[in-house]
């Protein structure tokens, strides 16, 4: 008898719950959808940070593992004459701006960046489409650049504004949190496979964030902005793919 009451209670509770959920979805469907997706993303992020630690290095390979051909994906050449002029001049007039919530805004030329400490790593680039390729990257650890700029305590995210305008007219941008930004393998790469970074792979400077997937590794970086929240940029999801394709912001898979 008590078993029956329990079952009835459970079934009633479940029905009420389902009814409530259906009502809520009908009232504010899009909002609920975003809430569910961001809840699962937070669950993934928190679980991974809890279980995996923040400083574990992604696998590194040896020089002989480097892929003979590294597919170029996304933008092959940023459109516009301005970028062509930068290429023609060997990026002589290009500078990396670091600004926003920092004590010391920076403007660094490619030569100045190359004089900072460098890290070389042979890693696997994993595209969200399912393919991967291995390459050797040389660049300055992002943590080094951030140390020079000294982020304010309010700063929580590092935003990469890029030179490539997508077909919809929007500039490509991406963002990561300070935890991933200070990861030892997170570098601003200016060399690939022992040569200057090719145009197809993001010249003059690209991000390598080895614990995350392909599209987080922004190419053609122009400016780095430190912010306390992401909803003031673009459509507010923290990146071009996140804004226009519903892609996850924390993309460790």
């Amino acid at each position: 008898m008590s078993n029956k009451v329990t079952r009835r209670t459970v079934v009633t509770a479940a029905s009420l719950g389902a009814l409530g959920l259906a009502g809520a979805v009908a009232l504010r469907g899009a909002r609920i959808k975003d809430d569910i997706l961001s809840a699962s993303e937070q669950l993934t992020l928190r679980t991974q940070r809890l279980l995996l630690g923040r400083r574990t290095l992604a696998r590194e390979f040896s020089a002989r593992d480097v892929s003979p051909v590294f597919p170029v994906n996304g933008t092959h050449v940023p459109p516009g004459a301005a970028y062509q002029e930068l290429v023609a001049s060997g990026f002589r007039d290009w500078t990396l701006k670091v600004y926003g919530l920092v004590k010391h805004p920076l403007s660094l030329s490619l030569g100045q960046i190359a004089l900072l400490e460098s890290r070389t790593q042979t890693t696997m680039h994993c595209c969200d489409e399912g393919w991967n390729a291995i390459a050797t990257w040389t660049g300055v650890p992002l943590s080094r650049v951030l140390a020079l700029a000294e982020p304010l305590t309010r700063a929580a995210y590092v935003v990469f504004h890029c030179l490539d305008r997508r077909e919809d007219g929007e500039l490509y941008y991406e963002s990561i949190d300070l935890s991933d930004a200070n990861h030892p393998q997170t570098i601003l790469a200016y060399r690939m496979n022992e040569r200057p970074l090719p145009v197809g792979n993001g010249a003059p400077l690209r991000l390598r964030v080895e614990t995350q997937i392909g599209y987080k590794n922004a190419k053609y970086i122009d400016r780095i902005e430190l912010v306390d929240r992401l909803n003031g940029l673009g459509k507010g999801h923290g990146g071009w793919w996140e804004d226009f394709d519903g892609a996850v912001w924390y993309a460790a898979q």
Binding site: E41, A58, R59, C127, D128, E129, G130, A252, Q253
Partner: protein, 281 residues
């Protein structure tokens, strides 16, 4: 309508509430994962073995243009081939659609999925639903062991493992025999083995291969690569397990009809199951 003829029928509780909840949550989750997973495969329908795989490395299975590296086809349907190892099958206009994706080059699609099914969003849903499947599976596995049902219901009894009993069980399946009386009260050997395979082999393998595709996870557990033969092998095993689950689901549904569709469905919804042909005391 007159009274139904008296029949020796007994109603038992076949599935307890936790089992029923887990079953239906998993059904919904697996359908969602198959759908979103198909959309993900669709963007790069090439499966590899080993660590590395991309458009410039050989594939085990691929849907490809029959004219790799040639001029871009501007007509539809463009030539398409299904590549399985060294063999190539022409599937132009049947399995493959080659779409010119502008500056991004060619996309080889199994089907032309609508643009509103954003690829990034499909991935986001895939991971969200995966959480539901994983949390459900963990709760179910704990329940199975703690309640003793793993031993009493799923693990084969010694008597079921005698050669004669095995042969008998296989024969029963081939004859689409419907169990009655006492034998209908417990799972038969092949049934037990297929449930054990799904719960303790296919689903865990699905999750492990999925996790092996995450750079953050493998940074901490690089053993996953050695266990599964590399990142692209893990991706291939992920899809093979998905196909195996589909195969299981098809047989599972056919068996519903063999065993009595309404009775079986009712047992997974209300828990109650009618045993026919049993001798009442």
């Amino acid at each position: 309508m007159g009274p139904l003829p008296q029949e020796n029928a007994e109603v038992i509780v076949r599935h307890r509430l936790p089992v029923r909840l887990w079953h239906w949550i998993s059904v919904l989750a697996i359908v969602g994962l198959l759908f979103t997973g198909f959309c993900i495969l669709n963007v790069h329908p090439r499966l590899y073995w080993g660590e590395v795989g991309n458009a410039y490395t050989p594939a085990l299975f691929a849907l490809d243009s029959s004219d790799p590296g040639g001029p871009r086809p501007t007509t539809h349907p463009a030539p398409a081939v299904l590549v399985v190892g060294n063999r190539r099958f022409d599937v132009t206009g049947r399995l493959g659609v080659v779409a010119d994706a502008g500056g991004d080059g060619l996309y080889f699609l199994i089907a032309n999925t609508p643009e509103s099914w954003q690829f990034g969003a499909m991935r986001a849903w895939h991971f969200t639903i995966a959480w539901i499947l994983v949390l459900g599976w963990m709760s179910y596995a704990i329940y199975l062991i703690a309640s003793g049902q793993l031993r009493s219901r799923l693990l084969p009894r010694l008597s079921q493992l005698r050669p004669r009993a095995i042969a008998n069980d296989v024969l029963n399946h081939l004859r689409f025999h419907r169990a009655t009386g006492e034998e209908a009260k417990s799972y038969n050997l092949l049934q037990k083995l297929s449930y054990l395979l799904v719960v303790f082999v296919l689903l865990p393998l699905m999750v492990l291969t999925g996790l092996t595709m995450s750079n953050a996870i493998t940074a901490r557990f690089p053993e996953l690569y050695s266990l599964l033969g590399g990142r692209e092998s893990a991706r291939t095993i992920h899809f093979l397990c998905a196909f195996a689950l589909v195969l299981f689901a098809v047989i599972h549904v056919i068996q519903l009809f063999v065993a009595g569709f309404l009775n079986e469905m009712r047992s997974m919804i209300t828990g109650r199951f009618t045993i026919r042909g049993s001798r009442l005391p």
